[in-house]
Amino acid sequence: MCDCCSVEKEKDIYLPEPASINACRMLNGTEMYMHIGLDSGKPLGHAPGQFVEVSVAGIGEAPLTVASSPTQSGFELVVRNVGRVSGAMHGMTAGHKLGIRGPFGSIYPVDEMKGRDLVFICGGIGLVPQRAFINYVLDNRSDYGEVVILQGTKCYADRLFCDEVAEWCARDDVQLLETIDLPDKQWDGNVGVVTTLIPKIGVDLKKAGVLVCGPPIMYKFVLMSLMEQQVPMDHVFLNLERRMKCGVGKCGHCQINGLYVCQSGPVYRYSDLAGVPEAI
């Protein structure tokens, strides 16, 4: 350790960068969408799958995975009104200021998956992190094979990005399958949990890259189903949510066994989670 320095030249990893909300709107009864730009004018510099720590001065910080592809300008977040920070964000409108730290964490296998078929399995708000990679793929469409998106939602009113989902559905280079767990009369499509869609996937699952994101309970059942279909474990990627408080591998809250999710996650290759029982 240096004995003489009294001035620290390294940057402060806890200091947020000022950012502004350019636009925001409710996506459904609980989820708010925000388009954000850093006040410096610089791009966030994220890759699909990475998260930021959003700071609201006077309230605190919350980790949110970026919902947009880096191929688009600015970046987008979707936040559910469940905690103190997210509650404060729900009171904000265009022009409001936020603090941003990051991007942090691991990324989706954007290069490894080139030329491969991709299957996105999303449960509820799990669509949000996946959307960053989905739109990245659609913006670089010729680099990838078939794209299948499975979306399961609890009820019709909870559906997210309805217009965008309709656009994906209308494309002939995307297979979109949607299901609702507790349907009402507005819904005449598939009924049941997202695993009920897996047999309907129109690509060879054993060769595809499979990306999974959803509520904690979903992973176990999706993985059981994928293993039944004999999908190799190293073709499956899971986006795991934890309590990422510092975002920089120090505070200990996000640990699953020996892994700091804020550093080695949130995107994990399933085969790398063998011997990590706290992951699922």
């Binding site: 009294s6 006077g58 809250h253 640990q255």
Partner: protein
């Protein structure tokens, strides 16, 4: 490295000299029948014959509460750093070993300027243990003595201290101390005798394997019944975390003025035994079962943190958790020995 010695009378003068020069010295003092690091006001209050302090000197390296930044609303943030230099006087080898681990953890990957700047402004005067505490097992963990991290190491050899100044900071502090003499071969032999003795005596709970066996032992122990058995009487109070010199998990919180114009963001000690340590917004707790949290602590000490710091075991054998734990379940040696007995690691030769 220069090795010298000071008589105990001259050492007292030396400490009073430090205090009168206006330096901030945190020294070990008696509080009733126990000991604690606190602001030292007089050399007469210093108790280098202490057995163990209630809290480790971690409280200065990573304060219980530390302001990271201040802000004015909306969203104008400013980094805050602790001003001033500090001398820690009387750090035992096991606590020094713990600080050495934390130095690695806070500088690796993402460099923590708040921790590291404070460390750079700190001078550590370590001292070898003169009185073993009732629960110390540092000898089992290889931390009964320490040979790195400190600026100065003191060893009580009876009527004098052997003084090893290991850094420029340490040398400049002791140079010119009245009565300072070169240590003789006999003095160094006396110091070696203290080390040899401590390597045997600081072992009230002998570990039945080598510390380096622990990660492999834990590889086999994830579903062992000991976690449930011990955790059955756990209060989830987190005392084992707060008294531990190697626990460094923290929470980050905001404190805002009543009129919401300004505030600060601070970090505060947290503990993985506390019920909501892994709870996320929406009230999902990723480590809800007490036994899982109990196991997590032992795995952090014996496997997860060692993987980050080159294999050093993140238990230094201070024994504080054993003393602090009311239901008496925290003793790491009792757990590791039970696993050795049940799962069979080669016994220590």
């Amino acid at each position: 490295m220069s090795i010298s010695k000071l008589s105990k009378t001259d050492f007292k003068e030396f400490v009073d000299g430090l205090l009168s020069s206006g330096k901030m010295v945190m020294g070990v003092q008696a509080h009733g029948e126990r000991f604690a690091f606190d602001v030292l006001k007089s050399a007469g209050d210093l108790r280098l014959d202490y057995d163990v302090t209630i809290l480790p000197p971690k409280k200065y390296v990573l304060p219980q509460v530390e302001t990271l930044l201040t802000y004015t609303l909306p969203e104008q943030y400013k980094s805050q750093y602790q001003e001033g230099e500090m001398i820690l006087l009387g750090v035992h080898p096991y606590d020094m070993a713990a600080i050495n681990q934390m130095d690695i953890l806070f500088s690796q990957d993402q460099y923590d300027t708040h921790y590291m700047l404070r460390r750079k402004k700190m001078t550590i005067i370590a001292c070898d243990v003169a009185t073993p505490s009732k629960n110390v097992f540092a000898a089992s963990m290889g931390t009964a003595t320490v040979h790195e991290g400190y600026d100065i190491l003191l060893t009580d050899i009876g009527d004098a201290y052997v003084i090893e100044a290991a850094t420029d900071k340490g040398r400049s502090l002791v140079q010119g101390a009245a009565g300072l003499a070169n240590a003789s071969a006999q003095d160094e032999a006396a110091r070696q005798a203290v080390w040899d003795k401590n390597k045997i005596e600081l072992n009230k709970h002998p570990l039945k394997c080598k510390p380096s066996d622990i990660p492999a032992l834990l590889d086999k122990a994830y579903n062992h019944p000991v976690w449930d058995e011990k955790a059955r009487t756990c209060f989830a109070c987190g005392s084992c975390n707060t008294t531990c010199p190697t626990c460094y998990c923290f929470d980050v919180q905001d404190d805002v003025s009543w009129d919401r114009t300004a505030g600060k963001r601070y970090r505060a000690w947290d503990g993985c035994l506390l019920e909501n340590f892994a709870t996320v917004a929406g009230n999902h707790n990723f480590r809800k079962a007490r036994a899982d949290r109990f196991r997590h602590r032992l795995y952090r000490k014996g496997k997860y943190v060692p993987a980050k710091i080159g294999g050093r075991i993140a238990c230094v054998g201070c024994g504080r958790c054993i003393t602090a734990c009311i239901p008496d379940i925290a003793n790491p040696v009792a757990i590791y020995n039970r696993l050795v007995e049940d799962l069979g690691v080669a016994p220590k030769k």
